[in-house]
């Protein structure tokens, strides 16, 4: 991790430096997502216990921790994807702009439109062209006017920094792209639905360093428009891309705060051990 990156992260986080580490103390008008006492289970096994934190609007929040610490399960709770797994259960509240995603009568289908997700491995739909992949979600709710859809494809691909590479091959299958391009295609697909929050579950774990760098660059640009939560097992990556970092260990939130503080001066002894590579 370069010093420059580090400094800029600090600068970006400058006005938020006083942002308190605990959700309960956060001013709710700045937080897009507020999580209160969230626990998640697989059958009887508890994967996430009693986590509370708040995700700031148009900032990047990184979730780090050793494998099996519940970080992936945690973000899958934020758009109700966790309950897709058989036997899964969620307790607690997740507020999106003050509204409980787990409230009575809330349809998970609508939740997922507001809170998009990018998965660990790129998963473009193999039977669809690049064009159809991008608007696969958009077409479910959006306009059916061809020109609107064309515009949406271009806009989303541009946002995902893929337009220049694929504009002449829009009707080729999505699986014909390279791994990094496929992942950006998946990001474009998620952006086309106009989500307010974009969840990224280790989006670079299947990619090579160059493709990873491109995605990280993209994350910097995207936070102008969306709120991003990214899970990563790569601490350097968390330090490079995020404004806030949450450290999970054994399903619990150990520490949450401004990234620069977590990486230079963590409060908790466990966080320090993890950051300095003493375990995990």
């Amino acid at each position: 991790m370069s010093n420059e990156n580090y400094a800029s992260a600090e600068k970006r986080g400058g006005e938020e430096l006083r942002a308190p580490a605990r959700a309960s103390e956060t001013a709710s008008n700045k937080a897009r997502l507020e999580i209160h006492g969230l626990s998640a289970y697989y059958g009887k096994t508890r994967a996430v216990s009693n986590v509370s934190l708040s995700i700031q609007t148009k900032r990047v929040t990184a979730i780090i921790g050793p494998s099996g610490c519940g970080k992936s399960t945690f973000i899958r709770c934020l758009n109700r994807m966790h309950e897709v797994t058989p036997g899964a259960l969620v307790e607690g509240r997740v507020l999106l702009d003050g509204e409980d995603l787990y409230g009575p009568g809330v349809d998970p289908v609508e939740v997922r439109r507001k809170v998009g997700m990018v998965f660990q491995k790129p998963n473009p739909f193999p039977t669809m062209s690049i064009y159809d992949n991008v608007v696969a979600g958009f077409k479910l709710n959006g306009s059916r006017d061809r020109r609107v859809i064309d515009g949406k494809v271009e806009e989303s691909l541009k946002m995902a920094a893929l337009w220049e590479e694929v504009k002449d091959a829009l009707y080729k299958p999505g699986t014909s792209l390279s791994g990094g391009q496929q992942q950006r295609l998946c990001i474009a697909r998620a952006l086309a639905v106009d989500p307010e929050v974009l969840l990224m579950d280790e989006p670079c774990s299947a990619l090579d360093p160059i493709a990873t760098a491109k995605i990280e660059e993209l994350i910097h640009e995207l936070k102008e428009t969306v709120t991003i939560v990214i899970v990563t097992h790569n601490m350097q990556q968390a330090a490079r891309v995020s404004d806030y970092t949450a450290f999970f260990y054994m399903g619990e939130l150990v520490e949450f705060g401004v990234t620069s503080k977590i990486f230079t001066n963590p409060e908790k002894h466990q966080t320090e051990d993890y950051i300095t590579g003493r375990f995990g």
Binding site: R112, G137, N141
Partner: protein
């Protein structure tokens, strides 16, 4: 060199063929007499299977040779089947067979794919066997039992429905037939549908279960409903395999003998309505073969068998081709 079974599964690429030729060379360079004998014995048995297949084709041709010489390909478009006049043409039975099989498919496809989707995506994993195992059992019931059930239980019901349809919609050409028999195209098609539903369901379910979770989750995460994930992602993903399952069902429907012989009817006329009791190729052979009194008659029936064999082989090859494409497609998807 024993452990390379995956070579078999690979598509027949040029480079792979080369590699496996080497394997042969290696295998053939057998030092040990026991190994040599073992190799030759199993090879002989494998050749046996091949010989049986060739013998089957040769016998069908030999048996039907007299009819082939007499009628040639006109047999396929001839509409007269008259043992007294020694005139044989099998177009009506070919059409009867195809019509029954097609109607059976039309009935079976939505029901079996629907069941397969329901079993694969809507039933909790633990409960799946409770529904799917009985369906597999249904696939194992001998066709003669379907025939018996069809003749004594289903045909009376169908006869009732046919009479009603004819009374109210008799002006419609499909319903303008001899409704009172009960036995006929409709009964034959329904019993075939009942017989192929479990086959198509079981294969489709296996194929749908191979659709990666990540694909379905991707659609859900975009704000799709479960049905949209199935309709727009899972079914297209599995489409080649599903078509293969349907083709296998079609092959079974065309070759099926006993049940159709019992409820499908036995006249030689061209199909005009859903109620016509017309022969299928298989039922014609089954019901007349032992009564065929002279060699041209027997030969003509074997000719019908040859045509039936040809049609099912084409269908079978088509299914194999799809499976081959499927394995090739997988390589492309997971590269």
């Amino acid at each position: 060199m024993p452990g390379e079974p995956q070579v078999v599964e690979q598509p027949l690429g040029r480079s792979l063929t080369r590699a496996s030729d080497k394997a042969v060379a290696h295998d053939a360079r057998v030092v040990n007499a026991g190994d040599r004998i073992f190799y030759l014995t199993t090879r002989a048995l494998a050749c046996c299977v091949m010989a049986l297949a060739f013998l089957l084709v040769a016998d069908l041709f030999r048996g039907s040779w007299e009819a082939i010489r007499q009628f040639g390909l006109k047999f396929l478009i001839g509409t007269t089947w008259d043992p007294v006049a020694r005139q044989f043409g099998t177009l009506p039975t070919i059409i009867g067979t195809l019509v029954k099989a097609s109607i059976a498919l039309l009935l079976a496809i939505p029901i079996s794919i629907g069941s397969a989707v329901f079993i694969s995506f809507y039933i909790p994993k633990r409960l799946r066997p409770v529904i799917s195992y009985p369906i597999e059992l249904l696939a194992g019931i001998p066709s003669i039992v379907f025939g018996l059930w069809g003749l004594f239980v289903m045909v009376p019901v169908i006869r009732f429905i046919q009479i009603w349809l004819k009374a109210h919609f008799g002006w419609f050409f499909l319903f303008d037939g001899p409704a009172v028999y009960g036995v006929g195209v409709l009964s034959g098609s329904v019993i075939l549908a009942i017989m192929i539903i479990p086959i198509i369901t079981a294969i489709s379910r296996d194929i749908l279960l191979t659709v990666p979770r990540a694909q379905i989750e991707a659609m859900l995460a975009l704000g799709g409903t479960k049905w949209e994930a199935i309709w727009k992602v899972a079914l297209p993903y599995a489409r080649i395999g599903l078509v293969g399952a349907v083709i296998l069902g079609l092959g079974r429907a065309i070759g099926e003998t006993m049940a159709v012989t019992m409820v499908g009817g036995n006249s030689f006329d061209l199909v005009h309505s859903l109620f016509d009791p017309v022969h299928s190729m298989a039922s014609q052979i089954a019901s007349e073969f032992t009564e065929a009194t002279y060699s041209l008659y027997v030969s003509s029936l074997i000719y019908v068998g040859l045509v039936l064999f040809g049609i099912t082989i084409v269908i079978s090859l088509l299914a194999q081709l799809l499976i081959w494409k499927l394995s090739k497609g997988k390589v492309a998807i997971f590269e």
